[in-house]
Symmetry: C2
Subunit: 215 residues, 2 copies
């Protein structure tokens, strides 16, 4: 067996993803990708038959990472608390912690990037993106539905759109963060989402103090 090509493959994918988030997919030429990776055209097309195949591979990789990410946070929250509401709040808190720790401005979300060039991709690739969103909202939605049963919400809300709100907040905050070059923007928005859930599911007169959000 000859040398291992997986390092090259991931190097291509890393360079491609970074470039795509700078210029978009259409303008991210293969020539630039291979120049940044330090390889040649032949090597690229050995690993990916077409540019579309690279796109799909990138989405698949991110989807797997994100699913594992959520699973990690959720299971950790489930061991730390028995209350589904607390589990959601903890899980969102873990995401927030990571975002606070971020120093570089957020480069953007590949899913959103691809969505805004949607016509360039085959249906299967976009279905993968839809699947990522559906999975996240589904998992969080399940928890929220359990939470709503135990803690009647103070306003009549649809749980499905409430779970979607996490996705919307995330994507919107990525845009703000990217536009303003502000690494903290995402954490701040996540905090507001968590605030909303706390207020929504708290008893009418409950005291809601604690460590205030940093400015």
């Amino acid at each position: 067996m000859p040398r291992d090509g997986t390092a090259t493959r991931t190097a291509i994918m890393d360079a491609a993803q970074a470039l795509i988030l700078e210029t978009g997919f259409a303008a991210a030429s293969i020539d630039t990708i291979i120049a940044r990776t330090g390889i040649t055209k032949g090597a690229f097309f050995y690993h990916f038959r077409t540019k579309a195949e690279l796109a799909r591979a990138l989405v698949e990789r991110d989807a797997a990472l994100d699913a594992a990410h959520l699973e990690r946070h959720l299971s950790r929250a489930e061991t730390l608390s028995r209350d589904p509401l607390q589990q959601v709040l903890l899980c969102l808190g873990f995401y927030e912690e990571e975002m606070v720790a971020m120093n570089a401005p957020y480069p953007g979300c590949l899913y959103a990037c691809f969505l805004y060039e949607a016509q360039l991709f085959d249906a299967e690739t976009m279905d993968l993106v839809r699947g990522v969103f559906a999975h996240w909202a589904g998992q969080i939605g399940d928890k929220l539905r359990q939470a709503a049963r135990l803690h009647p919400p103070r306003l009549p809300v649809s749980i499905a759109t409430l779970a979607d709100m996490g996705l919307a907040i995330t994507e919107g905050a990525y845009i703000l963060s990217k536009l303003r070059q502000d690494p903290l923007a995402v954490a701040a928005q996540f905090r507001h989402y968590r605030n909303y859930l706390e207020l929504l599911f708290s008893a009418p007169g409950a005291a809601l103090d604690g460590k205030p959000a940093p400015a």
Copy 2:
């Protein structure tokens, strides 16, 4: 004076914007734009010296429309209520009404689209986008700051990021709406934003009933 070219100019811009929201800016070729507009290449380059100039014109047009849009809603809210909190809630309600009335799935936001291809545009064009966001968050932030003075928030929050949340929710909801081809997704998310503001600025034991949000 020869014939009027403004009709052609707006036709180009309309066709361009629609196409750009389907494929992104880079993949929206001038050839396709002129084919859809029903003109020739010469006509295009008579109205716009470069493709970048078209991009800037599109952003400028949308920026002016959005500013007028906000101004209209805000002044209407200001005549309907004297309380700054109610003014914000009314203003957001007006946005929501429009989004509920929408039947076609949202095509996407030009600002976000351009942001995800940011490197293709000159700094001035992206500054225009930054300006649009800053203006909206500034206006709503002013109202929220007045509201917070009259109605102490139930949780310690940063007003600036609270105003930003409206932008984040909007952009995120556009993405959800576009991905799922769901015209109602934007209204649902806006409703949650309004819920959050209501809960945040309401007295601890206040009754918050009213017409429930539609499923």
